[in-house]
């Protein structure tokens, strides 16, 4: 007699794993670590939910950020995704511009890739401090308008802003090059010691104290010849 349940026999099933699962798992692991590192940095730096831009605090925050990411294996896609998380994700309860920009800069400076493009145009938030201490051999291209202290302490890298930069662009930069395709804000190049800043549009004002370096507006040298400030 035919077994009436033969149609319901157990079908052989072999658990298959495609590379997608491994890729997604690895990516999520890295993102968890990057986000975790940022949250720790913010907790340490912003105990009173206020973060003042002081040289010592910036240096301390950067050192803490570098320490947090030292053993991480990540790439440019992870940095881009972290920026997107900062912009809109519920995973990050607070985005404090200063530490966030410093943390992204640390990620960029220690990434495997030498040329990194960040599409900031898509984000609602303004990012500050990007390109902080960008080292020699690195090229960072920021697409869209950016906030204050862009390229601060630049250390030999090439920073391209495809848009406008805020105030204090290139503050305290040591060497390297900053190119802004539109406008730059007040105190551009304040305390800069070397390197060049090229602004294709208008510079609102040049920093009052410059120790070296050159600032160009629409191809013409503004500093060191003119250190008066207002243009």
């Amino acid at each position: 007699m035919r077994n009436p349940f033969s149609d319901f026999r157990i079908l052989p099933y072999q658990k298959r794993e495609i590379p997608l699962e491994r890729i997604v798992r690895a990516k999520e692991d890295v993102m968890d670590k990057i986000v975790g590192g940022y949250l720790r940095l913010v907790e340490d730096e912003v105990k009173d939910l206020v973060w003042l831009v002081e040289h010592s605090r910036v240096v301390k925050a950067y050192s803490a950020a570098v320490k947090g990411i030292r053993d991480l294996q990540y790439d440019v896609d992870d940095i881009e995704e972290f920026c997107a998380e900062l912009d809109s994700s519920s995973r990050i309860p607070y985005m404090i511009s200063g530490p966030a920009g410093i943390y992204v800069s640390a990620l960029v400076n220690h990434a495997q890739e030498d040329r990194i493009v960040l599409r900031l145009r898509e984000y609602q938030r303004t990012f500050h401090f990007l390109g902080y201490r960008l080292p020699e051999g690195k090229v960072l291209i920021l697409q869209g308008d950016v906030g204050d202290f862009i390229g601060a302490g630049l250390s030999g890298g090439r920073l391209v802003v495809e848009g406008s930069a805020g105030n204090w662009c290139g503050a305290g930069m040591m060497k390297g090059e900053i190119l802004v395709t539109e406008h730059a804000g007040q105190s551009t190049g304040e305390w800069m010691r070397g390197g060049e800043i090229h602004v294709d549009g208008r510079i609102r004002s040049v920093g009052k104290t410059l120790f070296g370096g050159k600032i160009y507006q629409r191809g013409k040298v503004l500093a060191p010849q003119d250190l008066s400030g207002e243009i």
């Binding site: 298959r16 495609i18 997608l20 997604v24 999520e28």
Partner: protein, 520 residues
Amino acid sequence: MVERSDRGDTLRKVWNRVRERHLFPELPHPVLTDSEENVALEIKGKRISLSKDFVEEMSQFLATEEVLEALLDHAVSHYLYCPWDFSTHLKLYSEAKKVLKDRDMAQKATDYFMDVVSDTHCVSKHDSPLPKLYQHMTRSVMDEAVHALYQRIWGVDLGIRGYEEISRKLSRLPYLDRSRWTESIRKFAKVVQGLLEIEERFDGLNKPNPMGGHSLDQYSSEEIEQGLKDFAMDSATPVEFREMIQDFEEEILEATRPKETGMGLGPGRALDADILYYMKLADNYSLPIRKIPMKKSGSLYPHQHVPWEVGKPYQDIDPWTSFGKILPGITQTWKRREGEIYGAEEGTPDCMVLVDSSGSMTNPRQQLSYAVLGAACACDAYLRNEVRVAVYNFSDAKAGGRQLLPYSRQRAEVYRAICHYFGGGTKLLLEDIDSLQTDRVPDIFLITDMQITNLEVLIRYFNEHKNRVTAVHLGDNEHVQTFRRSMALRKHVSIYSVEKKEDIPRIVLGRIREYFGTVG
């Protein structure tokens, strides 16, 4: 190459195998057709149609069985996994549209995303010949990028070179995590935007995907109704709903046309997305209506058995349960109870809906209006009870700000009347309300913020008439307090406050406090 006559047999054999592999989905037998468009397959009303030409073309590279199997795997995965239903399809499309801001590009991105999800699901679960098929297909720019992605996430070689950056970025998305599809499609759309722009330049957006597009034909009208209901609930404003629905206007009209009695718009009408929004939203709330109460009939009917005792009359003894004996404790007698019947006006009366659309009320076409939603829910409840609804939409009625719809069962007309927005002052004319009174004493449903200039006239009217009144007020103000105080002793007037969407289901239409204790 297999002859065409044999192909039917091969399809039957392959279909049985595919069904078993996918655990017997409830789908009709697929057919081989002469496709007008150059696509591999189509799904219409759940039936999978495979293109004979495509199968023949691919049979040059693969065994016919493999071609059929791959196509069926693809189609069944769409049915079983992604998009699964119209609601999911609409949600994915709306997320893609938010990023791409263009209908054609958003549709294309949604189609590709759904293909990637369902194909990846299939390949991850089953030993499918899909990768072999993709090796030999002709590809557009977008297809090449997607196949480069497949190479990366499936671990196969489909012969694609290049597209490194795009495929790397796309490979990071968790396609098999349904709970993150909305987030994933946003990222997917962002990454492929450049390629879609290239396709647009070469008129590629109007061409269907080689495996077939995803039109709404694949869904039943019930699925479309349900999808619209879900989407209305998810949309924060009517504007958001309207923007999305207008992209599918023709398909939705087609799907809703045959069902005149349902929630559709009826024939010969252009799609008014705002009306559809309130229709579908109201569909999610079903308000109860109190029927006219029952009354005692005066006749006694056997109700329950009780043991017979000596001295009790014999006429009520039930011989069938008494074993033919007359013995106390064994013999059963019937206990009688007076029966209940409906009164002369049994059932649900018609309803006259008085909706305030003055300037202090929200414009229903801009923002979600609780007044219109409440009125829509009330209309829906009465129409479902097979009675008629009249609408009196008023702002400053004396200055012409009024619309009067006589008793009707035409859902679209009723909704159109309640969705109309006047703005301006608030004054109603009792003659208008009186003109809607009938011999059967209709129920009255009033929804307003009570900032009516002649509120005291309305209060007097409610005091003088016997209609069951359900008054819903939005917000709280001195006029609301006046109305509440004046109506406190009136048992035929029930007052509800609506502050948020969730308050609407608490409304009970036609409730009268007098019989609340006995019937409720």
